[in-house]
């Protein structure tokens, strides 16, 4: 860079500092402040910038400074207690019992009188020593130090004074503080730049373009203050979508692109839809209070009033016409009418099947929504989370097709190494688990379950037995991995710091 450009890129304050330093050695920022008329921190900022450009060197020196405390100031004015004691003893009041009454600082005074060997004590009386007598009449080193401190602070003391000052610090008469002195000095490059800086000074500099400058044309002939473009500026916090909500949009789009239609439904659900229609026997452990939220209000609902409920009952009890043996127990409509918070969005899938007639087939449906589990909340468990369910219903759909859709889903989420293995759900047969390989842990992690709805699920709802592929992935864990969040609570914590910094979901 030529000197003219380099000089032009300096801030006005930097130029002031440089010109003030011309022809002299190092100056403190305090001195520069006085001479340039700039505030000290403005000088320091300008000097720091100038240093990054190599035109000045900028050094710090820390100095120790000692000042009297309030107590110290009192002694500096009235004299130290041990000196007072010497005077009292010399005036004849040498009995400790008497002194105790008259002299409140006796204890402190005694400590120092004895430590300095200024007096001896015998039978409760003090007798001054020779040193004591000398001290009484003359100015001791302590006195001198106090007097000097009363005048001004002591900076960077020598070793002798240091020992004494230490004692004062311990007696809480003096306190130590550190002051930083910053020295600025032109470098060779800085000295070389001075002529160019002087030339710049003569042209007008614009820092901020304003409407006024543009209107009155004063920018003409002026030059622009150059900036150090590498200096940091604070970030803005733009309005943003929550990443979970963005990912849900993505999942929705994914299913739509594969030809799926959305199904929606309520969070509050009859146990009938959440469990019975899914061929879960009424004493199944998953229906326990421990896992499922049941409702106090509204306690129970109304079972759909038709043949379908009867079909479900018979299927539970004896298999109805599904070709199954059923669970062989007495099915209770009251248990089925009990309201619960849906534990899976699979309740929407069976609801959808119930709405279809065989003429509507084939069909592909998906849902995304919250589900609820009666969990004790910790870093790994929440009472509610998101799930996306999908079903494909129609003659001729197969187990291999199910693997096909789920392979596409997993690849859509950017997963490379995954596998399918047998699983178990009371309402599917084949039941399948999709697992993803976690390289850092060197093991497979279960992602979600899938399967083909049992004939005992489909036939009572639809009237005929048609294959149905079904899956119900949660995706919290994938989001956690993708966003490097290690607690599921954090995922739903709405910490604005996290949300403001969170990477945009761009798919």
């Amino acid at each position: 860079m030529n000197p003219e450009d380099a000089a032009a890129r300096l801030h006005e304050n930097e130029r002031k500092v440089l010109l003030t330093l011309e022809g002299r050695g190092a100056a403190t920022t305090q001195e520069l402040s006085a001479e340039t008329g700039l505030a000290r921190d403005a000088v320091e900022k300008a000097s720091a910038w100038a240093e990054t450009k190599g035109v000045v060197s900028f050094q710090e020196e820390v100095s120790r400074s000692f000042n009297l405390t309030e107590e110290g100031l009192k002694y500096a004015e009235d004299g130290l207690p041990e000196k007072k004691l010497l005077e009292l003893v010399a005036s004849g009041r040498n009995e400790i019992s008497v002194l105790k009454e008259e002299f409140p600082s006796l204890n402190i005074a005694l400590v120092w009188v004895r430590r300095n060997s200024w007096a001896t004590i015998e039978k409760g009386r003090l007798t001054l020593t020779e040193e004591g007598l000398a001290a009484k009449d003359g100015e001791t080193l302590d006195d001198a130090l106090l007097t000097s401190l009363k005048r001004t602070s002591i900076d960077n003391p020598d070793e002798d004074s240091m020992a004494r000052l230490d004692q004062f610090v311990r007696r809480n008469l003096v306190e130590e503080s550190e002051t930083v002195i910053r020295w600025v000095e032109l470098t060779k490059a800085g000295r070389d730049l001075i002529p160019a800086v002087k030339r710049v000074k003569e042209t007008r500099i614009i820092t901020q373009i304003t409407p006024e400058i543009l209107q009155n044309g004063s920018w003409k002939g002026a030059s622009f203050q150059g900036y150090d473009v590498t200096l940091p500026v604070p970030s803005l916090h733009p309005g943003k979508r929550h990443f979970i909500s963005s990912i849900i949009d993505y999942i929705r789009r994914f299913w739509v692109e594969l030809g799926f239609k959305e199904m929606t439904g309520d969070y509050l659900e009859l146990s009938f839809w959440n469990f019975d229609a899914l061929f879960q026997p009424q004493d199944h452990p998953a229906r326990d209070l421990a896992d499922t939220f049941y409702l106090k209000t509204p306690y129970k609902g109304r079972l759909p009033d038709d043949e379908m409920v009867e079909n479900v009952r018979q299927t539970h009890e004896n298999g109805w016409t599904t070709g199954s043996t059923g669970w062989q127990y007495k099915w209770d409509p009251e248990v089925s009418a009990r309201n619960c918070l849906r534990t899976h969005t699979t309740s929407l899938s069976v609801n959808q099947i119930a709405k279809l007639s065989p003429d509507d087939l084939p069909g592909k449906f998906f849902s995304v929504g919250r589900v609820f589990r009666n969990e004790t909340i910790d870093w790994n468990h929440l009472a509610e989370f998101y799930q996306t369910d999908g079903i494909v219903i129609g003659e001729g759909v197969t187990f291999r097709n199910m693997q096909g859709y789920l392979k596409a889903y997993l690849e859509g989420l950017g997963l490379k190494r995954f596998r399918f293995r047998p699983g178990f759900f009371p309402y599917t047969e084949m039941s399948m688990e999709a697992e993803v390989w976690i390289e850092e842990r060197g093991e497979w992690m279960e992602l979600f379950g899938a399967g083909m709805f049992r004939p005992e699920v489909v036939k009572p709802l639809l009237g005929v037995d048609v294959p149905v592929l079904a899956w119900g992935p949660g995706f919290d864990r994938l989001i956690m991995q993708s966003y490097g969040v290690d607690s599921i609570r954090q995922l739903y914590g709405n910490d604005l710091g996290l949300l403001r910094k969170a990477r945009l979901w761009m798919e």
Partner: protein, 553 residues
Amino acid sequence: MPVIEVNLEDLRELLGKKVTNEELRERLPMMGTSWEGETEEGFNLEVFPNRPDLLSIEGLARAYATFTGLEKGLRRYDVEEAGYRVTVEKKVEGVRPWFVTAVVKNVEFDDPLIRSIIQMQEKLHVTHGRRRRKVAIGLHNLEPVEFPVTYTTKPPEFKFRPLGERFEKNITQILTEMHTGREYAWTVEGFEEYPMILDGKGMVLSMPPIINGEYTRIDEATRNLFIDVTGTDLKTITEVLNIIVTTFADRGATVYAVDNHYPDGSVLKTPDLRPKTMTLDIDYVNSTLGMEYTPDEAAGLLARMGHDAKVGETLTVEYPCYRTDIMHPMDLVEDVAIAYGYDNFVPEIPEIATEAGEDPLEVFSRGLRNFLVGFGFQEVVTFMMTSPERLFHRMTLPWEPIAETSNPKMEGYTCLRNRLIPGLMEVLASNKHHSYPQNIYEVDDVVLLDPSTETGARSERRLAVALCHARANFSEVKAVLNSILENLAVEAEVEEGGLDCFIEGRRFVAKVGGEPLCWAGEVKPEALEAWEMEMPVAALEMNVEKLLELTSS
């Protein structure tokens, strides 16, 4: 789901093969179990609830042997006759009606078998047994037992010497003083008399499902066993009995039948270890799986799962007595798929033309979410579950009827929100350490009671905005509403009033056709104080479903 501990040495001995953890770790999950990690002695394995026969190491070894081809097809079990007889009295009908039994002899009761049996018994009690209420298993030393054994009931003052006790106790004492008694007392709650198994001399074998008698205690020297299973469901207890008996048989024990005489005169001979039969159509297998197996191939795959299949016009499949999960031919199709290997299928998306589409409310909601981002607002996603404390008390709002759960585990999550604003307040209250302005919004559902629906409640889509910074005020929040309405070409009438969480005179309801669409205002300092907030908040909440309706009309 139950997790069992497997001792690798035991498993190797049963298989007659030096399998390694590495091999098992790879193969067992493909057989339909979950690998839960290595242990010092072997590994932990999760067994699915439909396969209780895998809860013992013997059962696991049996399944693994056929799955990996060490053995083939159905393992058959013989049952000897020796005239053992038990009587079930009518009195048990109202309390614990079902009772099945078996005798096994020549049991080598060594450590591995004892470990395996105890583990299986525990797991069966918890899962299938529903903590012993539905099924309880009793194992007894056969030697002192004099037949016929009687299953009956006894009153609370009836005394016997429970297992592990030095003296007799009566039933009430057992249920209130003994640890096991207290733990399982709930299974017999409300009974006037209690189930009791006695032998021909009147000695007590067991008080199911609570505790056995000391009389038939088992130790390492025991060689012959009497086994009872009691419960509320005959199908389940029979299956459980078969699972236990076959486990002993796999260790070389001889099984003897018992005639269980029921009060109606019927005689139930148990255990019945004969395989069961189901027919399976090869086309059904192929159309379900999307494969083209020949009947012989399918039969070969079924043999890998421990079945025998005869090939004719259809497949006639004999499946083992302990496979309690086989209820429908579809269950056999699954076994074919497992034997073939889930990882060996070629995934394929079919060509099925269907009409695709999102729910209109979701499309509309996404439009609103993206629009609100343009204001510079941050979207938040809060929980639907909350507490009356947050919904009403902290908002200084009066209580209203809401959907509440009956059995929450956590104090803070007892009901469903009927409004979004409290959730936004909670977000603001927990972000006081971050810089302002904090302008946030949420578009999601609330749940409202509605007697006209199937459940008595329905969800409603809402939009809420909270503006929080030093100068947040009424005008700003009203301007936000204006912009939303203008951009959707909706006109609403604004009138003073609305929610009590807003300052009087600085709040409004926006109505269309007399029905409320939006509530807004400056949040009362009392509410801010309740949330421990020291920054003003202006907020609005609107009914998105209504807005959609107005926009589309």
